[in-house]
Amino acid sequence: MSFKIINNKKGIGIDDAVPIIIFIFVAALVIVFIRINEKVKHDKIIEDIQRQKDALEGNSILMSYIKTVDEHGNNKADFISKSITGKNYDALTQDIKEYFTKKGIDKNWYVDVKDASNNLIFPSISDTKYSPQEQYSSTQTAYPVASVVIPINGFEPGYVHIELYFSR
């Protein structure tokens, strides 16, 4: 008796394929997890670097503002001190707004003037595109970029904080 088997294909059954399927699935999951993790880390670093860069830029803008000297030899810090003691907030608000708008900052910004107890002396000064409320109720996040402390020339020594914030 003789017979011949033709086209016999070697193969594995479905039960044999299960470990391979699981293997591939788990491997894919692990790779995705690692990639996401790396991406988040990377984005965080980029964001951090960007903020540090903004901080340098913001500080430069803020310091150049308060060091601006007028024709009488008084700098902006003198003007701020005088405006605060004289409660002449409108002129100060206008001056800050004009200066920062002229600087052409490519981000949304706002400036807070706070007293020694960290309370706002008058409402935040922002660029004309958004009010601070609009900026921060949305998905945009504001972050401090620069701050300077200015002494107040008054009966009692005091100081105010000028804080510059950017938002994206």
Partner: protein, 367 residues
């Protein structure tokens, strides 16, 4: 074919095992202790630039404060005819000794105005003009006042700036150069946006070091005897109950500190201002001799100069401070601190001579 079992080759099992071993190894390394630096290239450089920004801001604050302090000092000095009567109330590092209100004017004052010149008749009846005013004194007085006013600003600054840190040089008319004794220091990597309140520590000799805490003025080294610190902490609780905070600006002083003050090595320049030792003793405690600790209570670590934080310390504030500090303990009725009547900022406790004398008399204020 009997008991024919389908299966995969051994190499597959080994591969799967190897994979899971690799995965396990990765996670152990990922979550375990590893030498991953939590920053990026350029992090330290950016942090250094950030610290430089802070320094720039602080230097600007100091320059601006000096400008205001100078104009204020000139005004105050001019008000008093160029002579500054020491009001130890305004001196941060002065040792309380006697009342310090004697005029520096050599010819005294006339209806409240300091005399610049006096005319005296000699034996032959001729008038002789006598100058009572030394230009050198004006410079010293101006430096002293400037330093005092500048200190007020520096103490206000939200970060630590050292006080009494400048040696002044007056050039030409009114160009004043202040040379820093100690450099300003800024941490590059410390996150100063978080509040860094130091904790109290105990020194080797058992004293309490509370420098850098809320109770101690910025830029000041605050050391006290253990009992005195406890009394101070209790006083702080009483102050907080009344909605105030205490701020100690002078506590323990070493003998060497006292000698430095006496010898004019501090910005107060007592030796330069008062070359005559007998006059100087009115303002500074004499730091030599075996009984120095008895005469100079700050050397015991049981005396403090204190004020209410953020207050201008006008008359009513001093009264409030006294009510908080020099009171009797509610539980034991014992005296807590004793106020030195000549100086509203100076309090002693825990067995100093002045404290014992007040206790014997049953008073909380003593001369």
């Amino acid at each position: 074919m009997i008991k024919n079992k389908k299966g995969i080759g051994l190499e597959w099992y080994l591969l799967i095992v190897a994979f899971f071993l690799g995965l396990g190894f990765y996670f152990v390394n990922y979550f375990g202790q590893h030498k991953v630096i939590e920053n990026y290239i350029g992090y330290y450089q950016l942090s250094a630039l950030k610290a430089a920004n802070k320094a720039e801001s602080a230097l600007f604050y100091i320059d601006q404060s000096a400008k205001y302090s100078l104009s204020q000092s000139i005004y105050e000095l001019a008000q008093n005819g160029g002579i500054y009567e020491i009001d130890a109330d305004e001196i941060l590092t002065q040792e309380p000794t006697q009342t310090a209100t004697t005029s520096d004017g050599k010819c005294g004052s006339y209806y409240g105005y300091n005399v610049w010149y006096e005319l005296k008749k000699d034996k032959s009846g001729n008038y002789i003009k006598n100058s009572c005013f030394d230009d050198g004194d004006i410079k010293l007085n101006l430096e002293f006042l400037l330093n005092k006013n500048l200190n007020q600003y520096l103490l206000q600054y939200p970060y630590n700036l050292p006080v009494d840190n400048y040696v002044y040089e007056i050039k030409n008319n009114l160009e004043i150069i202040g040379r820093a004794i100690e450099p300003l220091k800024f941490d590059i990597l410390k996150d100063e946006t978080k509040s860094i309140a130091k904790e109290i520590t105990k020194t080797k000799d058992g004293s309490i070091d509370f420098s850098g805490t809320e109770l101690c003025a910025k830029g000041v080294k605050c050391l006290l005897n253990t009992d005195a610190y406890q009394q101070l902490a209790d006083a702080e609780k009483r102050a907080e109950e009344n909605g105030f905070f205490l701020e100690v600006y002078s506590a323990y002083r070493s003998k060497q500190n006292q000698i430095d003050i006496w010898e004019g090595k501090t910005s107060s320049q007592y030796k330069q201002r008062y070359p005559n030792e007998n006059i100087r003793r009115k303002y500074v405690c004499y730091p030599y001799g075996n009984d120095v600790e008895k005469r100079c209570p700050h050397l015991t670590g049981k005396a403090i100069d204190v004020r209410l934080k953020g207050k201008s310390m006008i008359q009513k504030d001093w009264q409030l401070l006294k009510d908080i500090m020099a009171t009797r303990d509610k539980a034991t009725s014992s005296i807590t601190w004793v106020k030195y009547s000549q100086e509203p900022w100076h309090f002693e406790c825990c067995g100093t001579d002045r404290f014992n004398l007040a206790k014997a008399k049953g008073v909380t204020e003593i001369a």
